[in-house]
Amino acid sequence: MDFVAVQFLTGLASACALFLVACGLSIIFGVTRIVNFAHGSFFMVGAYGAYSLSGALMPLLGGLGFWLALPLAALGVGLLGALVEVAVLRRLYRSHELFQLLATFGLVLVIKDAALITWGPQDLLGPRAPGAAGAVTVLGEQIPEYDLVLIALGPLVLAGLWLLFHRTRWGVLVRAATQDREMVGALGVDQKKLFTGVVFLGSALAGLGGAVQIPREAANLNMDLNIIAEVFAVTVVGGMGSIAGPFLAALLVAQLNAFGILILPEISIVLLFLVMAVVLVLRPQGLLGRKELAGSATHGAPESPLRPEGWTLGLIGLAVLLALAALPLVAGGYQLSVASEILIFALFAASLQFIMGVGGMISFGHAAYLGLGAYAVALSVTHWHAPMTGALALAPVAGALGALVFGWFCVRLSGVYLAMLTLAFAQIAWAVAFQWVGLTGGDNGLLGIWPAAWASAPAAFYWLTLGLVAAAVLLLRRIVFAPFGYGLRASRDSTLRAEAVGIHTRRQRWYGFTLAGAFAGLAGGLYAFAKGSVFPEVLSIPMSLDALVMVLLGGVQTLAGPLVGAAVFDGLQTWLMSETDYWRAIVGAGVVALCVAFPRGLVGNLRALQESRRDTPAVSEEGASG
């Protein structure tokens, strides 16, 4: 019993950092409508900052130096956030939410490499908190004093924020802006200052969350993505845009973690995300969230309807296919393996584009289905010695099954909530692959997955890949213009209208999600054979994000986009990795720049340019009348 109480208090203490970060994310989202992926990075910088500051201040001021370092680090991170707002976010407020997410993910990469340059790759454990370094005995068990400090800090910050938002004019303005930003501007409030202020506050909270962790957890370079998945879970469960919601959810989640580890250490993270899934199915807007925010779908409908391409484009496509088929005549083994990889990613990206562009569902966890396909192949080859064709046939089935199960939950949501839930499911898949060492080999992966003899030559494998990818992409395109694709587009364009003409929109979206999972699974199967091995990274957040970058590079609403995007992105990344250690920062900065400069993606922007050259008619609001 006493042990339970202690575990409970530990859970409460862990909830503090989670609450601070999630609450900051929620506040920023409420006003700017941007889900800040870099929020985990702010948390990480807060920890590193507090480490350095306490190291500098403690020799001068003693114990006070430590306690001073924490708010100073938070302040510094707040300023960093404000800088990011002015330099990047401000230019994205009118962009599609995908580009907002992607740009902030670019920031994650940049900040990670900046931290690597500044603080180096090693973990940095902070000093013990002066004055709270001991332990007190509660119910016969030892509790670190510092945990009690953290337990008190959460409610204090919550109360302070409540006062700020209800008792000050600035707070009332922020709440108003959460509901209707434009109207607040029309009432004479300078939104720019308000937004910068809000991002400062939210970032400072994340920084504080990181700073208070240093006596408990060493600052390290993986803190950013490790916490962001949990923070997404907490914010979504609590309700985006709310403050008390994340507090409740952080308590819930931290307790689940604390007790989950006792009961089933292997799947504690699975438990967390299962709770999240249950909450979202019962209450899609989160515990204390508002419905309108949850439903915020994508801004701006597609500019012009999708059209099947005419003869010219079809011929160009055929020519490209023939040229690709002729590649082994001129390219060597290494180039062919790179080309195979690009083709595989093109299929992966095309399957993502199918649910995003046609189905209107933003997935931040599409790697789950790629990974399921890859692991299906790897497991059937290594454990059951399946032949290549059998294993490869299993890949799309595994991807589809995963998407069928996860999709059942996901299609109940829309907009950013859907995006965050897909990410959470991908994290479950990743956690299982990472923690179930007996089956998957965990971090060591599964090795020795080589193609059958007939497909083992680079050219043969390349041709196999090309054939399967081309067939799959053509099939996907066909489906877009078939009744099934129209049903999906109808559900995306207007759920209300679609339901009112008898379309079971949720089911249509569910099948679409599953179909995309099957194609991603096929890509995963090919990926396993191309690499000869499978690691948990295939299911990780960065892999999902890579696919998003490829789709967005090409343009969400352009069918050829993902193919171009995959070629550009994978080609560039492969080249950069061979050139520099800091390739992440370069890729990240590139992604940020692209999101700011080309809000419709490369192909999308090119097409818009082409169209604006072709005709610029003057259309009245009335148009023609019958």
Binding site: R169, V172, L173, R175, A176, Q179, D180, E182, M183, V184, G185, A186, L187, G188, V189, D190, Q191, R290, E303, S612, T616, P617, A618, V619, S620, E621, E622
Partner: protein
């Protein structure tokens, strides 16, 4: 007080306003009339800086304000009440008024909560009610009251009678006349000739994004041919 010259607005590639020009004299109520899609709402949004004009001039007391962000235009003395009201539904009526509160630039006596409640007595009982839980008519009154708290010299009202029950429409008309008596200049967009006729001194008729009539309200109301051509009445 306000003068608009050769105003053009485009939404994407579609042009909505084609060289709109008119004046709003101080102390009067001007009605911007026209069918749906004629460009009335777009004109008001452009005046408020909510949609950027592609070309043209907007002058407030001789000073060019086109291209300014909405908050600067608001601070220069324009108040805007949106067609769909756009109150803050999760905040109380009192908090909604607080968001709108801003001291007048020129040292006039500012509007107080008590004064806007005298104009719209229904609001007095609703101070602590969440704005989203009030009726459509009450929301319209709140939207006007909230804008008045910013002490505008020129009030832009976008379709103030749209979607309201006739009794509420009559109350809105009374409020507009009271505002005019209190020295506030009003520019309102309207499709409802009855409402516009009962409050406005002047009328500007838009059709297909251009001005077709600019003159006394009485002249428009008395001319069936004019009404039929541009308002389809």
């Amino acid at each position: 007080m306000l003068s608009v010259r050769a105003l053009e607005v485009l939404y994407g590639r579609a042009q909505v306003l084609f060289g709109v020009g008119f004046d709003v004299p101080g102390g009067q109520v001007t009605a911007l009339m026209g069918r749906n899609g004629a460009g009335k709402s777009t004109t008001l949004k452009a005046l408020m800086g909510l949609v950027p004009p592609a070309s043209g001039e907007i002058r407030l007391d001789g000073r060019r304000v086109d291209g300014w962000p909405p908050y600067r235009i608001a601070r220069a003395g324009l108040g805007y009440v949106a067609e769909d009201r756009r109150i803050f539904p999760d905040m109380t009526v009192a908090e909604n008024l607080e968001v709108g509160r801003r001291a007048p630039a020129d040292g006039r006596a500012p509007w107080t909560v008590a004064e806007v409640e005298r104009l719209f007595p229904n609001l007095a009982d609703l101070r602590d009610r969440r704005a989203g839980q009030t009726s459509g008519g009450e929301q319209q009154m709140l939207a006007v009251a909230r804008t008045l708290m910013g002490n505008p010299r020129l009030l832009l009202l976008d379709e103030p009678s749209e979607g309201l029950a006739p009794v509420i429409v009559q109350q809105m008309a009374a409020a507009v006349r009271a505002l005019k008596a209190g020295g506030v200049t009003v520019l309102l967009s309207e499709q409802n000739l009855r409402f516009a006729g009962s409050v406005a001194d002047r009328a500007v008729v838009l059709e297909k994004g251009a001005v077709r009539f600019d003159g006394a309200m009485a002249a428009l109301a008395d001319d069936p041919a004019l009404r039929h051509t541009y308002l389809a009445l």
